[in-house]
Amino acid sequence: MSDLRLRLAQNRGLIGAILMFALLYGLYSVLHPRGGSGPLLVQNANESFALVLAAMAQTLPVLTGGLDLSVGPLMTLVNCLASQVLNGGPADLALGIALCLGAGLLGGFVNGCLVVYGRVQPIVATLASGAVFTGIALLLRPTPGGEIDKDLSFGLTYDLAELAATFGLFDDGKAPWFAPFAGLPTPVLLVVAIVVLVWLPFRASVTGRGCYAVGSSEGAAYMSGIAVDRSRLAAYMLAGLFAATAGLYLALQTGSGNADAPQAAAYTLNSIAAVVIGGTSLFGGSGGVVGSIFGALVLRAISFNFRVFDPGSWLGALADPLLQPFVEGLVLLLAVSLGAARVLRVRNRLHLFG
């Protein structure tokens, strides 16, 4: 019993984000004429995927007590790279995907080196590397465009039925046992797969736990014999990998690359907001990627709702096109404040980590 209570207390941010998302998405689904239907889920999942991955990327540096301002630019860089390499035969495509993910890891490695060995403040180091990434993105794709393999694009950005049909699995997705799963959006499964195959093993590893330790108290972590440098470096590299996945997916989704600097900046800022809503402390040491996923979903769900409010009702007044950024900001502020409210009630700041 007390174990459950402890677990609940430790994951209060995550639970808050899940509840908030359930509330906002529930409202949207109720108001939407096709709420909860397959195509709508696919569309919502598609729209959220890049931001979810960007938020996951942002979580790791934040856990170590840093911040990564290059998440958006790195994602844009990989998006532009993908628009150059994602075509040709199956072998070319596999190589292309590997190249894109490799570029992300490399970008993250550079960030990590600047922070760990260069001893530059993370916020400054990633601001600079972000500018460099945007520059490379522009070099790769001075004007928006490019070509991306259509089959790969269709296969990965719809539901499982489309994926199976594209890659000829399970009798083109018509196998009877496959029917109950056919409507599941592929992007949702991709996120689940990344969490299960990448994040959970990483968190359980010594290096992963090291990230939390470094974020909580770098001195204590060092004294306990934790490989501080390695943990930090790993955090930035994993962030690079997640950012690359976001960029890759955006390329598949739009079928093109675009070195759009304002868009990159928007993703960076939203990823930080998502991390905070998801209950990860900006001081580092507590939180996690799953919370950030729901944080990103909360952000997206806020803007989903603007589309379904009846302009005649009082909700519609909130969705006035010129008020939308204001309302979005207000809900965001509310979400972040709810997470921070518990600080007011603690007698000792150490309880925050208990």
Binding site: F49, L250, T254, N258
Partner: protein, 372 residues
């Protein structure tokens, strides 16, 4: 290896199946189209599209990208005012507006959302000229009329609405030619570098001025379509070159003219954008000015085109909207400029050829209503 071949075959089959299901959407037909004075085809090669006719009233959505400059705000207000216009109101039963910011995924999602909600037409300013294949496919599958305008897409699969930027540049060039004579030093204040609109206006302008028989010295500066930047750029150019015989400003004209006034430069012919501030200065300082603009009122033409397409009319694939312009001879206070309103307002809102006559006062009324 065999598996891979089987997979490829399945891919082809899937692609074919998809091509079959995408048969909905507009038919490519031959012209002439509906109301060619208003919906003027871009050029002779422009094709025509026709959707299945359906009964009004319709559900229409406007998916804006970035919101945050005067032009966009005015565009949104114009759209709302036009939806309330007595000629349009009976045709629309539900009009929604969302602004998605500069995020392509969010804009694509919003468009797809309105398609899923069963809207009949979606008007949009695309955040990127590419990447919309997916929503075009979704729109066609559900027989939704998707109309990008202003920042249009590199595709021939949807109906789009814009003003001809190259022609706009030529109009500016002709005015300078007419007002400043065939020779002299001309100051050209360009827009945001790297943008296709800036490029096209520049090329059109140069085409006229550099035609055989003219001998101009053209000084080029960059004003970013912004009053502050243009004012500084013009002030710098004046201090270097001393005197000009004419000026062409792509945007930020109010600032550019202010720089002339501040430097005590004699009033020369100026061809510029449609900012209210520029028009106020033309009247105040007796400038031989021409004011031509990319109007936020384009949104009204895009809406009108969508409504027309929904009623099964034959429409050009790319609509060239008549360019609204006024010269110092035709300016009239309260009609095409407003001395009591701010400088940042874009005046070119009326398109008489299309029966779209949304005056600034109507748009201001819309603003007031929102403040309640």
């Amino acid at each position: 290896m065999l598996g891979r071949h089987v997979a490829r075959a399945a891919v082809v089959a899937a692609a074919l199946a998809w091509a079959g299901s995408a048969a909905a959407g507009p038919k490519v037909v031959s012209g002439p189209g509906e109301d060619p004075k208003c919906f003027k085809p871009w050029d002779q090669k422009t094709g025509y599209l026709q959707w299945t006719a359906r009964k009004p009233p319709f559900r229409v959505a406007l998916v804006n990208g970035f919101v945050g400059n005067t032009w966009r705000i005015q565009m949104v207000q114009t759209a709302k005012a036009f939806a309330e216009d007595p000629s349009v109101k009976p045709l629309i039963k539900d009009f929604r507006v969302v602004s998605t910011g500069t995020d392509a995924a969010a804009q694509l999602g919003a468009i797809e959302d309105f398609i899923n909600q069963g809207f009949d037409a979606i008007i949009t300013i695309a955040v990127s000229p590419t990447g919309f294949d997916r929503v075009i496919r979704a729109a066609n599958r559900s027989d939704v009329v998707l109309v990008p305008f202003d920042n249009v897409l590199d595709t021939k699969d949807v109906m789009q609405v814009n003003e001809d930027q190259l022609e706009m540049g030529r109009i500016h060039g002709r005015w300078i030619l007419e007002q400043a004579g065939k020779s002299g030093t001309i100051l050209e204040v360009r827009g945001l570098p790297g943008n296709s609109v800036d490029r096209d206006r520049h090329l059109g302008f140069r085409e006229v001025l550099e035609a055989p028989g003219n001998s101009y010295k053209i000084v080029e500066v960059v004003g970013n379509w912004d009053d502050g930047t243009a004012q500084k750029a013009v002030a710098d150019a004046l201090s270097v070159h001393g005197k000009f015989d004419g000026m062409f400003v792509q945007g930020g004209t109010t600032g550019a003219v202010r720089a002339l006034i501040d430097a005590g430069h004699p009033m020369i012919p100026v061809s510029g954008e449609a900012e209210n501030g520029f028009r106020k200065l033309i009247a105040e300082k007796n400038i031989k000015g021409l004011s031509v603009g990319q109007s936020p009122g384009l949104v009204a033409i895009a809406m009108k085109a969508a409504l027309s397409a929904l009623q099964g009319k034959v429409m050009p694939q790319l609509v060239s909207v008549p360019i609204p312009m006024e010269s110092y001879k035709t300016l009239a206070a309260g009609k095409n400029y407003w001395p009591e309103l701010g400088d940042n307002f874009f005046t070119g809102n009326a398109f008489p050829d299309c029966g779209v006559n949304l005056s600034a006062t109507e748009i201001m009324a819309q603003t007031k209503e929102d403040k309640k």
